[in-house]
Symmetry: C2
Subunit: 194 residues, 2 copies
């Protein structure tokens, strides 16, 4: 039996992205965002939504660029702080002991300590109400060497990405593998062929 929870944005999983920008004065800033994800393959586009009143919103518009740094599970408290403090009056990189690395490709900094980062140029802005959806074109993805397998693919357990659980308002990590994609479902093909 299902119960109605009303019109709200409860969904699983949610990311905990650190959105990196330079503000109008050139100060590096990060903001935690759980509203986002991939939205196109060709071109490679990723979306992140930011509340209009956030410092990051103006920075993305002015600079036409942002980064997404994927925090690891052991960065939960730092990620939480980056979501509740504002770049208007706080140097979050400094307070958190994190390193802003100037991207060579886009006009935005990423978090040096994060094991996987995306560098994006602004593709489209969409005013949706409380939030502006910023769609960025992925110019590059960078990963720590020791998080890649021998074929150069990122290894989830080494990246150990942080997730946000909106129901419990807590952070968690990814867990147990449940099967291969484009493979596990083939058991149902056999049925179709019978």
């Amino acid at each position: 039996m299902k119960r109605s929870l009303g019109s709200q944005t409860i969904i699983y999983p949610l990311p905990a992205f650190l959105v990196g920008t330079y503000d109008t004065e050139g100060k590096a800033n990060i903001m935690t965002a759980a509203w986002g994800g991939v939205c196109c393959s060709e071109p490679p586009l990723v979306a992140v939504s930011v509340r209009k009143e956030r410092w990051t919103c103006e920075a993305i518009v002015k600079r036409g660029a942002f980064t997404l740094s994927i925090p690891s599970a052991d960065m939960a408290a730092q990620t939480d702080f980056a979501g509740i403090a504002s770049g208007r009056n706080t140097d979050k990189f400094k307070e958190l002991g994190l390193t802003p690395v100037k991207s060579a490709l886009v006009d935005a900094p990423y978090v040096g300590e994060c094991r996987l980062v995306l560098e994006l140029t602004l593709h489209t802005s969409l005013d949706l109400g409380s939030h502006v959806q910023f769609i960025g074109k992925v110019e590059d993805v960078k990963a720590d060497e020791d998080c890649l397998d021998d074929k150069g693919k990122p290894v989830r357990k080494k990246i150990d990405p942080l997730l946000y659980d909106i129901g419990a308002r807590e952070y968690c990590r990814a867990g147990q593998t449940m099967g291969k994609a484009f493979a596990g479902g083939k058991i149902y093909w056999k049925k179709t062929d019978e």
Copy 2:
């Protein structure tokens, strides 16, 4: 030391949503989508991107509605099949032994066996290239009674949502809790006050 992986959509975490629609003939269909997430709070909007050639794409446009059913971790093989088969020539609900439940609120079916479902009306369509991003307004969220705590909040471990790992092309579940949101970060406030 970071290595460049090029311009691609590698990100963590990714969801494994089952997008439910009625096609033009009224047949219930589901398609697995990993490109999606929340994009606005007021109004409550959730986005999912679908490749233009998918059967689901036309269905969403024609019906102006869709659902997102969150598969549980034990539905990895079913979810995989719903991503590789097409509703054009396959009755995926039937092949997978899943129950299409007609939404009373929107013109789309959801998966009865999924513990959390969202019912959405089409708000905005955005042609981005290979994919169309469909932004839906959440009309209701429904959850199985036994997945809610005593305050009516969804419990992650009971919903046990399935995630998609794009690096390894495999499915996984969510794991260990890493701290409370809007709380754990406060240790860094103290520093600021000193």
